[in-house]
Amino acid sequence: MSTASLTYPPARSSTTHLAGLVWTLIRTDFKTRYHGTIQGFLWALLKPLTMFLVLMGVFSFIFASEPAYRLNLIIGLFLWDFFVQSTTMGLISLHVKGYLLTKAKFPAWIIVVTSISNALITLVVFFVIILVALTVSGRAPAPWAVALFFWYLILFISIVIGFSLATSVWFLRYRDLNQVWDVIIQAGFFVAPIIYPLSILPEHFHKYLYLWPPTPVIQFARAVLVTGAAPTLKAHLLLTGEAATVLFVGIAIFRRYAPRAAEYL
């Protein structure tokens, strides 16, 4: 593409320096979002918890015959909340922190990856709440189930990072990409089987719904945590392949567009 030949000394990317940068970005993101207090953080948790209570109040009557509907709802809703928070923050990350790109030459992907830190902290809290809810309702998960759940979360995070890398550079060129994503998110809430059990839809639809990344993650998590039955090896390989594909495509798109990102700020 460009015929320019550029030679710079290696960035001062000693591990301690990069760790300091990452820590500073995470710390200040947390402070900006939650006013630097635990109360602020708890306040922000009220939104998904309220959603959960309202949806549970309404839909547990509709799906009263479904076993463990509430547990399935809480797992679906929390994973969905993480997906929405992290992708929304990731998409706008370079736009919001683009001013840093003009301050020095440094690896810009750090901005994108750290932008999902707030959502990750919330995810850890959700993880604990889900385990407590399972235990309280007498379905304390076996260690292998928790381990698999943890693996699904790693894959989910990889998908989110791949998505964020791609959309963060696109957003600099297409300034309404966030509005488009909002619409997709609204539709996606119903595409993913969050408030309804997947089984109410005809079988031949399922494979299309599984293409929407939150669907397999939510379904697999429910399978191991609530039902206690692990999906097949093939299903695991497909999900892992999907996550790896999204991550690598995201990295490729980012590497293509990021060198000119500063020109679009």
């Binding site: 460009s2 940068l21 500073t24 900006t32 001013y99 020095a104």
Partner: protein, 254 residues
């Protein structure tokens, strides 16, 4: 061996007559022909800077000075040519832009400082000094959204001066702050120069260029038309300004 070497660098901006910034515009205007101008900013620019040298760049507005600095700093990518830089660069460009307005001065110092390559320990040790240099000790815990633009720019200079590593790149330095702040900047800058840092300065002020620079480049319409001693380049720049003035600026009342 020169520490900065720029060879035949060119940069063209693609300027559509109607800019499309959104997906909506792209979709709605799908079948409308798209006109665009190619605006050459830099054309085959070459120069070299020796280690420890201070080089000024002068030129009229739009001559490509800032773009050239951004390319040397590695922030913009040239379309062609070769840039070789053999030391870490601290650019001070577009000051006053770029804060997290919801955070106070100290947290912003941490963010900018760590991006500029300081470790957390170095930043912690330098905070008092940075605030004192900017005369902002009293406002250390004030969010940046309540700062005046001058206060923000002073803070930006103070951080950057503290973070200087080997090569310093300055765009329109000494344009902010009151006389005493500018005096401190000049003093700090002289110290850096004495310590052997390499400096690249863009300025419109002939006093800055002749006072600080060993050498200067005159940039006109994307070409370097002169590479000589600072005094001679400033004279040529003055001539250029005065010869151009009758065509471009008609004084009121004439």
């Amino acid at each position: 061996m020169s520490i900065i070497e720029v060879e035949a660098v060119s940069k063209t901006f693609y300027v559509p007559s109607v800019r499309r910034d959104t997906i909506r515009e792209h979709v709605l205007d799908l079948f409308r022909p798209r006109q665009a101008d190619l605006l050459p900013i830099l054309q085959s620019v070459s120069f070299a800077v020796q280690r420890g040298e201070t080089v000024g760049i002068v030129g009229r507005n739009g001559s490509g000075k800032s773009t050239l600095l951004k390319i040397v700093a590695g922030i913009f990518r040239p379309d062609g040519g070769r840039v070789t830089v053999l030391g870490p660069i601290t650019p001070i460009l577009e000051l006053g832009l770029g804060w997290n307005p919801a955070l106070d001065a100290i947290d912003n110092i941490f963010i900018i400082g760590s991006v500029m390559g300081l470790s957390l320990r170095e930043i912690r040790g330098a905070i008092d000094e940075i605030l004192a240099f900017a005369e902002l000790e009293r406002f250390a815990n004030l969010k940046l959204q309540h700062y005046s633009s001058g206060m923000g720019a002073r803070l930006a200079y103070s951080i950057a001066f503290k973070a200087v590593r080997e090569i310093l790149i300055l765009d329109e330095i000494f344009a902010v702050g009151d006389a005493s702040f500018q005096e401190r900047c000049k003093q700090r800058y002289s110290e850096l120069r004495a310590a052997g840092h390499t400096v690249l300065i863009v300025s419109h002020d002939p006093l800055i260029i002749t006072g600080f620079c060993d050498r200067a480049l005159l940039l006109e319409r994307g070409h370097i038309i002169m590479d000589d001693s600072a005094a001679r380049v400033c004279d040529a720049y003055n001539d250029l300004l005065h010869s151009a003035q009758p065509h471009e600026l008609v004084p009121a009342g004439s």
